[in-house]
Amino acid sequence: MAGGRDLDSNPMRQSEIALPAWARLSLAHAVVEHLARDAGVDLLHIKGPATTARFRLAGRTSSDVDVLVRPSHVARLTSALEAADFEPRTGFESGSIFRHAANLHHRYWGWVDVHRLFPGFGVDASVAFEQLWQRRGTATIAAYDVQVPSVLDQALLILLHGARDTARGRVDIDRVRAALTAAELDQVERLARGLGAEVALAATSGDLDRFRDRAEHDLWVVASEGGTRLQEWRARFRAATTLPEKAKLCGEVLLVNRDHLQMRLGHEPSRAEWLRATGHRPVVALRELGTLLARRLPDRRRRR
């Protein structure tokens, strides 16, 4: 029997196998859900296969498992993941300008992005999570039940994510807006207000100017339209509303982030490499400042 020969010689492959990316990702969601449940962690699966088909783009494949975790459970989750051989790669402080996610990697399951908050929410991360948690639903991924945000919360998350994704964001925003009825869109705006996400949501509809006075305004201008490192730091400085936050940012301006440097170099930076990169930082800042001034000066001359 032809099939029997296959069956007898290699009935199942295990361990060091390369699964198709979509299969690996689906199974990885289930594994992460199991680890979270086992550790008593509340989390919501977001993006990729956790998204309702209504908002998914045919042919778009995610590359990692994204989860939003109850902030007070983050340490418990990362411990559970690490105990299951997920290796921490990027910490929360160095992941993005919003410092919202940490990345871990597993040799079989690939990347997991652990979100302790979702960029765009203005209310406290614990309050935001509780709101989403109260409205949550269930999705089945790889025949395994996982917790997901409600359909309209999913729409809001995609819109907010789209606002800071200068590459694919516009497509995602347009697709989700087209999939929602007018009444649903109103509801999404109401949800955004409850989560303090009006500024970020305005970035998806070109309405940011209405929020010019808000501290996070500049940050969303840079996130949605792009900007130089200098503009980014300026926006972050404005968005930092307390003195300790501003002081911490000043320190970060001067020192190169080790995680980022490691990703750029492809290996753990030596002390000499880190010092060299840190020493180079003022040069980059001056160059950007020079470019900025050069752009502004002709404007001023024209105005005269």
């Binding site: 029997m1 032809a2 099939g3 029997g4 296959d6 069956l7 007898d8 290699n10 009935p11 199942m12 492959r13 295990q14 361990s15 196998i17 699964l19 198709p20 979509w22 299969a23 690996r24 689906s26 199974l27 289930a30 594994v31 859900e33 199991h34 680890l35 299951a84 051989d85 079989y108 399951w109 991924i141 790889a142 025949a143 395994y144």
Partner: protein, 102 residues
């Protein structure tokens, strides 16, 4: 209810779509063990048939799928089903446990 098999709790699985070039495939893992497993070709067909039809019809399904007689495939099919049970990827359905698919 006739004897059959179900997928145990704690097993996550996906069936390969038709676009896969290497024929039928099932990818699965016991979430507790966290190791990926791939069943391809006849192995995938047996696992899939086992969760969908009564136990005494699995060999017949595979015979049809492979174009052979039921007697010719029965031993291989039953051995493989036993291995799937040992590995925790299938379990015998208890008489009162409802539908075929767990």
């Amino acid at each position: 209810m006739r004897p059959g098999y179900i997928v145990p709790d704690g097993v996550a699985w996906v069936v390969g779509d038709d676009e896969d070039s290497h024929g039928p495939a099932v990818y699965l893992t016991q979430v507790r063990a966290g190791v990926p497993i791939a069943l391809e070709g006849t192995a995938a067909q047996i696992w899939d048939a086992a969760r969908l039809v009564p136990a005494d019809e699995v060999a017949e399904e595979i015979a049809v799928a492979t174009g052979q007689s039921t007697d010719a495939v029965r031993h291989s099919v039953e051995s493989f089903l036993a291995e799937l049970i040992v590995r925790g990827l299938l379990q015998v359905r208890e008489p009162d446990s409802g539908g075929l698919d767990g």
